[in-house]
Symmetry: C2
Subunit: 249 residues, 2 copies
DNA sequence: CCAAAAGTGTTAGACCTACACCCATGA
DNA sequence: TCATGGGTGTAGGTCTAACACTTTTGG
C-alpha cells in the first residue's frame, strides 16, 4: 500500500570541485522501482508518478523522492531511498521540515517531508544502478528549473545546513578520509557562502581536538605539500551531540 | 475529505506560576467539531477518533491535534487549531518535526507533524468554547500518562524551544505586556532548566536594546517595587529574524 | 525596623578579529 | 629560481563568569 498524500524528498548535498552541489534527477518510472518491495503496490506508485505533468518536460529536474509506503518508517524510508540512489549507508541525514501547502502539487494533494543528506560525491557509487543514469550534480547557485516547490525545499535545507554547520561539525561526511586544512576551510567557506580567515580558522579547528595528524602529506603538488588530517571519530561524535562551544562564522 | 494517514499535533507551551507548562486535553469527539468546516467530512474524523482505544481511558492525556483535512494548508491548519482551542491569533508557532514510526499509532498508520506554540496563559480565553472544558495545563516535569508517542513529541518540542531561546528572543509571547526583569529572567531559567546570574543576565538583556522602560513600577508588593518594561516590537522582530549575536545560557 | 526582592560594578580570563610574512615543493 | 599555495603569532578589543552589597518598599 502507498500513502497517496504523503511523500519524501531528499536534498543531497555534496562538495566537489570546490563547490557545494545538490544531487537531482529527472524521475523515470522504472527508477523508483528499486525503492519499493513486493508488499508495496508498485502499480499505484507508477500511476501516481505518471500523473505528473512535469515528467514529460525535459527541462525540469526534481529532488530525489517518492510516495511513502504504508508499512515503512519515515526516517528509515529516507535512508532506504538514499541507499538505493547513492549506494551509501550510514550517511548524515536529517529531517528539514514538512511542506504542506495545499497547491504545492497542482494536480493532487501531497504533503512532503524533506530530508537533507551530506555525502562525499567521490565515494558514492554512481555506477551501481539504473537510477544513476538520470542523476546529476548541480551547483547550488546554478539550479535548473525544478518541479513543484522543490526550489523552496532546497533553500530551506540549505538554511538548515548553514545553521547546523556553525555549531556542529559536519565535514566528515563530505570530505575524503584524509584531507588538508585548506580543503576543510574551503568546505566551510562554500557552505557558509563567505571567506574565512585562514589563521583564525586553523586556531578554532585545532582547539576542537577533532583532527588527527596522519603524518602524511600531499604528493605531486606544485607547491609546499599540505599535511593530511583525519577526523577523530570519538570526538567527532561527541561534538555532533553536544555542539561546539563556539561558532564558526 | 480527511487525510487518514496524516495528522497535526500542537505542543502549546505557557509560563504560569513560575513554571513551564504544556496544554493538554482529553479528546472528545464533539470538541474537534470546531476544527472542521462543512466541506470536510466530519463523520470520517469522528470514526477515526472513536477508533482510538485510549479515548475510553480516563488516565490518558493527549496533545491537541487531529487529522488533516484535504483542502487545508498544513501551517494554516495548525494556526486554526490553536485559534479554536485558545482563542489566540498571531501566536508564536513553529514546526518541530514529523513523526513517522510505523507503529506510533497502534491501530492504524498515522504520520503526524508536530508544531510548538508559545502563549501567555493569562491571555487566552479558556472560557470561549466547549473545548476548554477538557483542557488542562501540566507542568513540563509532571506530565500525566500520554497516548501514543506524545511524550516523545513534547520532549522534541522542548529541545527545540531550548535551542531557539538561546539565540532568539521569545519572551514576548509568554509574558504580559509589561513585565519586570526578574520575570523575564525566571522565564529563561524555567525554559533552560537552570539558574542564571542576575547581574550578567541584566547586562546581556540591556545590551540587546530590546526593552523599553515603561516608567511604571509594580504596586502593592511587600518589597522594593520593580520597574516594568515592555518589548520594543521593531527590535524584537529584527532579533527574531537575525538571531542574537551571543547566546543566553 | 524588618523581611523581601530589586538593583548595581569590577576583575580576570577566554575568545575574537584583523593582519603580513616566510616556507616547502615541483616545474 | 620561480610560482604556488601551506603554514604561523600577536595585540587590542570584547564577551563571559564569578562574585556581595546597598536600596526600596509594605507590613
Amino acid at each position: 500500500m502507498i500513502l497517496k498524500n504523503l511523500s519524501i524528498d531528499c536534498v543531497i548535498f555534496g562538495f566537489k570541485d570546490n563547490k557545494l552541489k545538490v544531487l537531482l534527477w529527472q524521475d523515470e518510472t522504472e527508477a523508483i522501482k528499486s525503492f519499493f518491495t513486493d508488499r508495496d503496490n508498485y502499480e499505484d506508485v507508477k500511476i501516481l508518478f505518471e500523473a505528473n505533468p512535469f515528467r514529460a518536460n525535459e527541462g525540469y529536474w526534481a529532488l530525489i523522492g517518492t510516495h511513502m509506503p504504508d508499512e515503512e518508517d519515515l526516517d528509515e524510508f529516507a535512508k532506504h531511498i538514499l541507499y538505493q540512489t547513492t549506494g551509501l549507508k550510514d550517511l548524515y541525514l536529517k529531517q528539514v521540515k514538512t511542506f504542506g501547502a495545499t497547491n504545492r502539487v497542482p494536480f493532487m494533494r501531497v504533503v512532503t517531508t524533506a530530508y537533507y543528506a551530506i555525502i562525499n560525491p567521490e565515494y558514492h557509487d554512481m555506477q551501481q544502478s539504473e537510477i544513476t543514469k538520470i542523476l546529476r550534480w548541480f551547483d547550488i547557485d546554478k539550479l535548473p528549473k525544478l518541479i513543484f516547490d522543490h526550489e523552496e525545499i532546497i533553500n530551506a535545507a540549505l538554511k538548515k545546513l548553514r545553521e547546523e554547520v556553525k555549531y556542529h561539525p559536519v565535514g566528515f561526511h563530505m570530505l575524503p578520509e584524509k584531507f588538508t586544512l585548506t580543503e576543510l576551510q574551503s568546505l566551510y567557506e562554500v557552505i557558509l557562502g563567505k571567506k574565512l580567515d585562514t589563521r583564525n580558522f586553523r586556531k578554532k579547528i585545532q582547539k576542537m581536538d577533532l583532527l588527527t595528524d596522519t603524518e602524511e602529506k600531499q604528493t605531486n603538488v606544485a607547491h609546499r605539500a599540505a599535511k593530511l588530517y583525519s577526523f577523530d571519530i570519538a570526538t567527532y561524535q561527541k561534538l555532533r551531540e553536544e555542539g561546539l562551544k563556539f561558532s564558526i562564522q
